[in-house]
Amino acid sequence: MKTEDWKAKMMDYLYDELNPDERKAFENELALNPELKQELEGFENAQHTIQKWEDKKVSAPPFFNVYKNKEKHHSQSSFKWFISIAASILILLLAARFTGLEINNHNGEFRIAIGQQISTANKIDEDQIQLMVNSALSTYEEKLDAKRQEDKQELENYLTKQSMENKQFINNYLTGMQESNVKIMQAYWKESNQQQQIYTETLLTNFAEYIDEQRKEDMNYLFAKMELMESDKDLFKIETGQMINSLANNQKEEKAY
């Protein structure tokens, strides 16, 4: 049943795109085939669920109008520039006509004259120009040398002064540091001696107390021992007395028999 043709027909039926005859044939098949009917119902349910999802409401950006307007504006601007340049050239030509402007370009010389003829009489030759250039250059070099010497001297002075100041600063710093170290060491030794003295005194006191305590304990021990010995001696005496009495009694009894 599930041929590609029937799948296509089912899709056509789902979207109502079958002609009446095809539709009738498909409905007959549906009546005979419960499996097909069940599948179609499943598809219809899925379709209804999917259709519940609405489109997002969005608006289009005004892109093309803006894009075109920019071009138009640009072309208008270009035209305005062209007209402005043309008008400027026209004004310059009219001004030249009324002021008698003369422009001459001859043998590499470009000359502009207003209201009079261009004359080439007052001309400076090449050697004179060279001389002027050389003179200007040498003057400039002299000035440069002088300035360089002055700067060098100034720099040396500055470096010497800085070096002296640095040395002085380092010396002061070292001296200060030595003095500070000496003071710190002295304070340290003083404090250390005091601490050691206190420690030794405390130690000796504690030792004397310990010895005293130990002697007391030894004496107590000796007394206790001596008492014990005396007690033993008394007991021995009593026992000896009892034994003598016992022996004496025994002897009396033997004699009586």
């Binding site: 349910n45 259709q51 969005v58 289009a60 093309f64």
Partner: protein, 203 residues
């Protein structure tokens, strides 16, 4: 009558008439945006794909020989752009309309807004959001071929012939892809516990 007017508009746009081109953008932007949105499931990608589609339309509209095929032609463009972007698999920054538009005095957003405020009640908006999330998830699990056909048929309302023209395949192939798309969607919706009845209850 409408179709004739629309074809006139396309012919005018082909002559470089900026108003006609702007009108085409205005008419088609929501459709193309929503196609891309359902394809990707992401608003920013959809916006960029829609923009890229209309830039391509602006450049290539002269190549359209038959104005009556504008619909399938523009869906061919947006489908190709969506496929291209999907293949890249990463974000690629296109030229934004914002960069072409004059800025406001305060230098913030441009003069137009993408979203139009939703006029529905908040509950309806919330339910639409939830359903949208689930359907986006399901659509993303379909193959690209099935997804394209399903969106074009179900949401864009294209005829099978128009889809076949847009995708350069036969009508039977379109129907076959749609059959498998529905078959797959039915299972995915069941997995998400979404049925017509549950939706009716929620609404």
């Amino acid at each position: 009558m409408y179709a004739v007017q629309n074809e006139d508009l396309i012919s005018q746009a082909q002559t470089g008439d900026s108003f006609a081109q702007g009108e085409l953008v205005r008419q088609w932007y929501p459709r193309i945006y929503n196609f891309a949105y359902k394809y990707f499931g992401k608003a920013d990608l959809a916006q960029e794909a829609a923009q890229q589609t209309f830039i391509a339309m602006h450049h290539k509209i002269n190549q359209l020989n038959d104005c009556s095929k504008f619909k399938s032609w523009i869906y061919t463009i947006v489908t190709n752009i969506c496929r291209q972007e999907s293949r890249k698999g990463k974000r690629h920054r296109w030229l934004s309309f914002d960069q072409l538009l004059p800025q406001n005095d305060d230098g913030n957003s441009p003069d137009w807004e993408v979203s139009i405020p939703n006029e529905n009640n908040p509950e309806q908006t919330y339910l639409q959001g939830e359903l949208g999330d689930i359907l986006t998830k399901c659509l993303q699990q379909l193959s690209k071929d099935q997804r394209e056909v399903l969106i074009m048929k179900e949401y864009e309302g294209l005829k099978f012939r128009e889809i076949a023209e847009a995708l350069s395949v036969s009508e039977n192939t379109v129907k076959s892809r749609l059959y498998y798309a529905f078959s797959h969607m039915r299972k995915l919706l069941a997995k998400e516990n979404i049925t017509e009845k549950s939706l009716r209850y929620e609404n």
